[in-house]
Symmetry: C2
Subunit: 687 residues, 2 copies
């Protein structure tokens, strides 16, 4: 039943959205107008969320997957009085979103940016805007919730039983990533997951009848979801009934299909014009008249609306959180170890002794593939860090990321305690799900072949933008894949990942660099990392007289000094090409050319070092430099300078055994030495 306060609250939200968009002269009014009643009902009547503690671990999650409707979220956060949280998760004593923030919607330094941004505004559970990402990420949150429950709940202590809601539009439902995620959510029977599909049937190009006529409800039934429909977004009782049906469902995720009218109540209702442009002063005025709002008041909030939210979501959330914290106190007494883990998880800290899991590998000229050494280190670390978990996009036997020690089974519908996820051949969803697990504070990894990082870029980017410590593990990292050929040989992926701000890209050269890579990435709290690993065996270097692998932490280091002590040439390499650089160094030494070998596993960390260190590793005076990497040469010029050259890839590779490819593409000691010789000669003016 709708009360006057319901109506008043919903229309207040609508008014705030229209005013914010009008003030910004930019934004998307159509969706907030159509779906405000649904969001309101969810927040006011269902969402277990304490505005005074928006990071309470057992809160229900709300994801605005149609992120362009951000004004709706900003209005809700304002009206419910959600408190601000600083980027390191400290709750501050002020509102996250003030009326002034709403007034400065979409302006520099406002807490109300154009799309919801994680950590910029508290109450935002994940960054959204690129369509499909929010719903896919919500699956990761639901997985995390189930896993936390399986690991930490005890008889009498249901610490984790939160629900995850995602509000999605037609666009989200068309994107492939949402299909992948929905299929997996159905398979895993994530019954605490609810997607609300705001079916307003209008997108930017027009009515969905021009491109999107499938039966979405039937599709989700095929995925194994519970599906229910609300015929009119303005019918709060119907919305409530649908959400009760979700709450009552214990086997399947739920899709609530809500039929709505984009731009409801405005002059552009049901047209694409309502989507992405302000209504204009006249349009706003007309809509306010329709909603019974005062036409001349901007950012109008009747005081009783604040009270009403405080009595609804506020009081409910406060009670729930208080009860939970009471329970946690007793839990801490009964299960101190588990409670300690939970606190560390919340603070993104690791167990005290985690580094003791890291041991070194003995020198071995035959060595092993870095995917193999990484798999071993991962397994050791995962035993020390119980909330390190993940899986592969159907490539675990190849990427070596399966956790195989005792007590680690599969995360499946029947058993949510497992730490091995089977993402299926769904790379994009895998990465988005990892994002969802990371914003729920777990330490997730996912793995695939480096070539398929392309499929997941949309989600990898969000991990970097959100500054969350997701581990993207990519193996088969070069033409080293050999016979599978150009469709499977990554060439441009390294450069593409390095181009992404905030992502640490590691390409370790041997097993001990792998150990040191894991030492860095395990401790990350606010950065994602990509681990780029070989399919083929690489020697484990004998480091006597060589630089220590701990140099990985500085991004690049002198692995092998020039035999003469004064380099004639510097060989820069990463990953599998470091051993090649060492071989070239030997060959050059035989003819009196003294080459230093620099291993550069992580450009981003190297760029952060003081100039002094960088100049030690790559002395400006040594201009003869050769970079060696089985990848696009883009970006290497920064390190090789005007006198340098790159032995890299300029094509997509070829299908053949690796040895043939190395010769064909010049990755041989002779090939590298020849380029080095030329650089040295050029530096001496002999060229």
């Amino acid at each position: 039943m709708m009360t006057d306060l319901d109506t008043l609250s919903i229309n207040t939200i609508r008014g705030l959205c229209m005013d914010a968009i009008q003030a910004a002269d930019s934004g998307h009014p159509g969706t907030p107008l159509d779906i405000a009643p649904v969001a309101y009902t969810l927040w006011q009547r269902f969402l277990r969320f304490d505005p005074a503690d928006p990071i309470w671990p057992n809160r229900d999650r709300f994801v605005l997957s149609e992120g362009h409707a951000s004004a709706l979220l900003w209005s809700l956060l304002h009206l419910t009085g959600v408190h601000a949280v600083d980027p390191d998760y400290e709750i501050l004593g002020r509102r996250a979103v003030t009326l002034d923030d709403l007034r400065s919607f979409r302006r520099l330094d406002s807490h109300c940016p154009g799309h919801p941004e994680y950590r910029l505004t508290s109450g935002v559970e994940t960054t959204t805007g690129p369509l499909g990402q929010g719903v896919a990420t919500s699956v990761g949150m639901a997985i995390a919730g189930q896993w936390l429950a399986a690991r930490y709940n005890r008889d009498g202590f249901p610490l984790f039983d939160f629900d995850v809601y995602a509000l999605a539009g037609d666009g989200c439902m068309m994107e492939g990533v949402s299909s992948e995620a929905a299929s997996l959510a159905g398979h895993l029977r994530l019954s605490k997951l609810c997607w609300i599909y705001d079916s307003n049937r209008v997108t930017i190009e027009g009515h969905t009848r021009i491109t999107f006529t499938e039966d979405v409800a039937e599709r989700f039934l095929a995925y194994g979801w519970n599906v229910t429909t609300v015929a009119d977004a303005n019918d709060l009782d119907a919305v409530s009934r649908a959400l009760h049906s979700f709450k009552a469902e214990t086997e399947r995720p739920t899709l609530v299909v809500v039929h709505s009218h984009i731009g409801y109540g405005s002059p552009v209702e049901d047209t694409p014009e309502a989507h992405g442009a302000p209504l204009g002063p006249d349009g706003v005025r007309a809509a306010k008249r329709f909603f019974g709002l005062p036409e001349d008041a901007d950012f109008f909030v009747p005081p009783q609306v604040y009270d009403w939210f405080a009595e609804g979501i506020g009081a409910r959330g406060d009670r729930a959180r208080a009860a939970w914290e009471g329970g946690l106190k007793a839990y801490r007494d009964a299960y101190p170890q588990a409670a300690d883990e939970l606190e560390r998880i919340q603070r993104r800290e690791l167990p005290d002794d985690w580094e003791s899991a890291l041991t070194t590998f003995p020198p071995d000229p035959k060595g092993m593939a870095t995917r193999d050494s990484s798999g071993r280190v991962l397994n050791a670390l995962a035993q020390a860090v119980p909330w390190l978990l993940g899986g592969s996009a159907d490539l675990a036997p190849s990427t070596k990321t399966r956790l195989v020690f005792d007590g680690t089974g599969d995360f499946q519908a029947g058993d949510h305690s497992g730490r091995n996820l089977h993402f299926g051949v769904r790379e994009h969803a895998a990465a988005a799900i990892a994002n969802g697990m990371a914003v729920t504070k777990l330490r997730p990894f996912w793995s695939g072949f480096l070539i398929f990082s392309d499929y997941a870029r949309g989600a990898i980017r969000l991990s970097a933008l959100m500054e969350i410590p997701v581990l993207h593990i990519f193996t088969h990292d070069s033409i080293g894949v050999g016979e599978d050929g150009p469709t499977h040989q990554p060439v441009e992926q390294l450069a593409s990942l390095r181009a992404m701000p905030g992502l640490l890209v590691f390409r370790p050269a041997d097993a001990n660099e792998v150990v040191e890579t894991w030492r860095v990435v395990a401790a990350l709290r606010h950065e994602p990392a990509a681990l780029v690993l070989s399919r083929q065996a690489l020697p484990t270097f004998d480091r006597s007289g060589f630089g220590a692998a701990s140099g990985v932490a500085k991004g690049a280091y002198v692995l092998a000094e020039a035999p003469s002590g004064t380099p004639d040439v510097i060989l820069l390499a990463t990953g599998s090409e470091v051993a090649l650089a060492l071989a070239a160094r030997d060959e050059l030494a035989a003819e009196g050319i003294s080459a230093r070998v620099v291993s550069m596993p992580c450009w981003e960390l190297f760029d952060r070092q003081p100039r002094e260190y960088r100049d030690q590793v790559i002395p400006p005076g040594v201009t003869a430099r050769v970079a060696i990497e089985q990848a696009s040469t883009l970006g290497w010029d920064r390190y090789i300078g005007d006198g340098g050259a790159v032995v890299g890839m300029h094509t997509f590779g070829a299908s053949a055994p690796l040895k043939q490819l190395l010769t064909k593409f010049g990755f041989t000691p002779e090939g590298v030495s020849q380029v080095a010789r030329e650089r040295v000669a050029a530096g001496r003016g002999e060229a």
Copy 2:
């Protein structure tokens, strides 16, 4: 009904596949063993394909979407005696795939690489291997077929009525791109499209029950497809019935779900081990025994099998092609203009007078967005080139790619003559579909925001790998999108696209550079291009005394010479930053610093110029250089050299009006001048 020759042929295929994989000691035997009977039935009884003319325009298309089963395709191409075609579409007088090619499967320069590669081996309709791409591309082929029929068929001349078949595995069905494509294919009622789903229920990590338990048939019914099932892949009659059901269907695309057993007949049947590793000599021997093949004969082909294929697909294809060519002769007399167009399409040539569609824009300090000028040029060109067609991933009103002249409607289920496609919010499928249209020799474009190129990279990469002239049009190319903020501000996408071999990336600076960009890209025959365009207005330069926009064809050119004639500093820029460089040049001139402005719309073309030209544009003696681009700085070092600097982006941007962002990130004449001043000082040793 199965004859002995059917059985013998199928098992011969299986034997060839096992032997090729064993000889390579690398490959994927599981799928060829399970699905050989289905592929055989399709080719021998249905496929309208002339081995002697594998590029006959009205041939049925066969796409091996599960590309790892390439040995199956190589065996079929060998047994049917498909003729080789050179990369420029000339038919050669030899077999495309010899027994020796099969013997050198997966070795350097074999015609039988690890995955099917378009243009490397005739009979390969599109490059496959990355899962999902083949099926999505097949939708583009089916669209092209319908469009060709709508435009060129006449009463009594059904020139185009080909079917498109794609063979897909569990992996293809899990990938998001296939969901996007299937939804659109259902919407468009592409009844000449048939996907055969080889449901062997085993992927690399194990049985599909661990991750993929949705009801695929029901999902496709929801998309609006005709769905039929074959309970046993070895039942040729059932396969034939299913394919007849497809042939009889006139309203919907068809999905044939075939239940099969991976590694059928081998010791590893029904296990993941059958997927991606050779069976070993013993395994091959056991399987050959099971199939009644001689155990000791490698690459065994009974002569009657060649004859049998010649009598089946060979004779049927020859008759069909001969009849078609007879018809075309009469058609040419009756419709010379249309026939001429068809010939040009086949040769990838444009109408003689196409360049007359290109006019110049007058100087205009206010100017227009390059998305707008591009939209105008596209519309002019599309009138001159009738087979230039495409659409947007639901952003046409923003990307300005809609064709709006008379006679260009929508391509829809009811009317396949339209040249405007509505791809929906499905970027990945849009790009894959464009690939499919391009391999059918049309000139397709698709458009979206630059940020969403990330979603489509898997398919963009294939356009580059296949060397097909797809036009990827990306607008909203920088922080110029303003208020939508970091989720929508492309920063790393330019570098990512530039890292891709074979893709020409253009970022024109004004309306006349847009014209010249289109002049280059329209004429491309074997390269894809990305057009990177602004949302915001850019001035149309007054070029008196300036370099001509035709310099675009050389990738970079001197737009404005240094006022003194001898540059103290070179300002390098692309797109929207070129006008900024000009403003900085003026500011610097006022203080006696003489700056040359170089516009660099296409790095790839510039890198192809002779050194002499490159040194003219960027003289090695002028080491004070500043690059200006609202993007990741990765890659610029190649042009700025050791003495240079880049004004670029190091974060993901922010949500604010553009003007605020330009100041925040240093994209102002003062900001650029300051950096230039420092570079000049450093060059003079004053720093």
